[in-house]
């Protein structure tokens, strides 16, 4: 079973890294990054999520099938976000035929 391979020390280490990433998240928010603010914030969030998935949720030692199940939800959310946001970002890209404005 997966729990066998993750020690208390490992959990604590992951926790310390998570707290450090939290500090980084807040710190980065006060830097003048402009449009990259959101990129930085989400990158750190993804890093934290990966740590939680891999270690606290044992994906690191759980075999490929569970890894697929863990990822598929996020993948599907990416489909929803990408295809729907394309609508909002592409409004006005294509000209309408005359008379339809």
């Amino acid at each position: 079973m997966a729990g066998r391979t993750i020690s208390v020390g490992m959990y604590v280490l992951v926790y310390v890294v998570l707290m450090a990433l939290l500090a980084a998240t807040v710190g980065a928010a006060y830097l003048h990054l402009g449009n990259l603010t959101i990129v930085a914030a989400l990158t750190i969030a993804v890093a934290k999520t990966s740590l939680i998935l891999l270690y606290f949720m044992h994906i690191r030692f759980s075999g490929r099938r569970l890894w697929v199940f863990a990822v598929v939800g996020f993948l599907w959310l990416a489909i929803l976000l990408t295809l729907a946001m394309t609508d909002y970002l592409s409004r006005g890209w294509l000209p309408l035929p005359a008379g339809w404005e």
């Binding site: 099938r65 598929v72 939800g73 599907w76 489909i79 929803l80 295809l83 729907a84 394309t86 609508d87 909002y88 592409s90 409004r91 006005g92 890209w93 294509l94 309408l96």
Partner: protein, 538 residues
Amino acid sequence: MSHHHHDPLDHEHYLNVSYGVKSWLLTRDHKRIALLYLISITLFFFLGGLFAVLIRLELLTPKGDFVQAETYNKLFTMHGLIMIFFFLIPSIPAVLGNFLIPLMIGARDLAFPRLNLLSWYIFIIGGIFTLTAVVTGGVDTGWTFYTPYSSTYSNSAVVLTALGVFITGFSSILTGINFIVTTHKMRAPGMTWFRLPLFVWAHYATSIIFVLGTPVLAISIVLVGLERIFGIGIFDPRLGGDPLLFQHLFWFYSHPAVYIMILPAMGVMSEVITCFARKKIFGYNAVAFSSLAIAILGFLVWGHHMFVSGQSEFEGLIFSALSFMVAIPSAVKVFNWTATLYKGSISFHAPMLYALGFIGLFTVGGLTGLFLATLAVDVHVHDTYFIIAHFHYIMVGGAVMAYFAGIHYWWPKITGRMYPETWARLAAVIVFVGFNLTFFPQFILGYLGMPRRYYAYPDEFQVLNVLSTAGASILGVGYLIPLIYLLWSLRYGRVAGTNPWNATGLEWQTPSPPSTENFEAPPRVEGEAYEYEEVKVA
């Protein structure tokens, strides 16, 4: 062939192992839960059908003279809601899937029997909320709940209905989780993935949609409810909200939902056609992978419901292209069933009649879907009767026919008795004739420009509308006849025996009806699926 001297229904099976209301309402047996669903959805089917009758009565005449306009809006809304959420979506998975999947894979039950029972209770509770909405004045937003009408302006029982649908969604989600885990973990020794009946593949693919799509419907309903109750304004243009956000969220589920309705039907098809053509399925792998492809691609096409909504034209182009692609795996399946029939030894029992009807009607419905995926065409026929005809060809000509095929095919296994074949064939033909008379005129009406969701129409459309209503009455008769003879057969039907069709599949290796544990010992599977060439016909 001699008849049995004793009644094989003497053996202990899942129906007679215990009696009493508690033994049914607290059952963990997937077979009993399937029957609980069967009774519930049959009631909903006839309620949804009643609304259809009222709609078709109004449409006999060009003027709105049977009901008021607001009432008509409620009729088509409730017809759609009940038929989709309380009949079609659960129908094959919750009745046939629940009953058959453990049998087909050689298991004692699904992975989570109590979750299965919970899913039925959730279905019933959601149904009660929705029925309450129906009897306390109804909903008039269309089953699609478009904002801002549903979130701000409608004066009907939106929140109550939304609650009902929201709750029922969890029934789907639990079923999906159960089927996925069961297929992974509960197969008998030797039952590898590629020996599974295609019915199981179909339900696995359906469960992917249950699990990944339904939650998005749930959140979109929650947001409509929040906006209606608290006025928070997510979809309110006065606050800068975008009604299209609702449509994106709603159709992200509701398009894959149509694949929830058709994939299990396709699973039934693979079982029935192979049995009544006495032939192995043509292209097992292609059919199996096509099921998965339909489930996955089905999530990428939702915007084809929004071509004229104000969605960007660029987005429309993308969704149009993707929608063409999703037709391919469906076509693959139709080709493969047809190839299975070729040089098969075909017999025209009722399940096969329904299956043959499915192939033709699903093809018409599917091809008209391609017309609609074509942006330029859709601009003209969107929100007309062309759309209505298209989806009824697939959902009724396709899914409901397959449901009837499956009910008849597995009736002996479920009840231990045969249905009367002549009456069943007659009903199948009546349904086919009635269906086409109802819905083919609607293609023409839509093309000529008759809009949907209107209770009045220009005089020149009356003849086609009358034909459609006439067809609907024939169709109604066709649906009532099985209700009568299937009930009759419970007492008077010929005893079926273990395998009346000489079919392959583990479900036919166990008595009819099966015992509670399905098998005395876990079967060992050695052969491939559909080995009909090896089956000797008695």
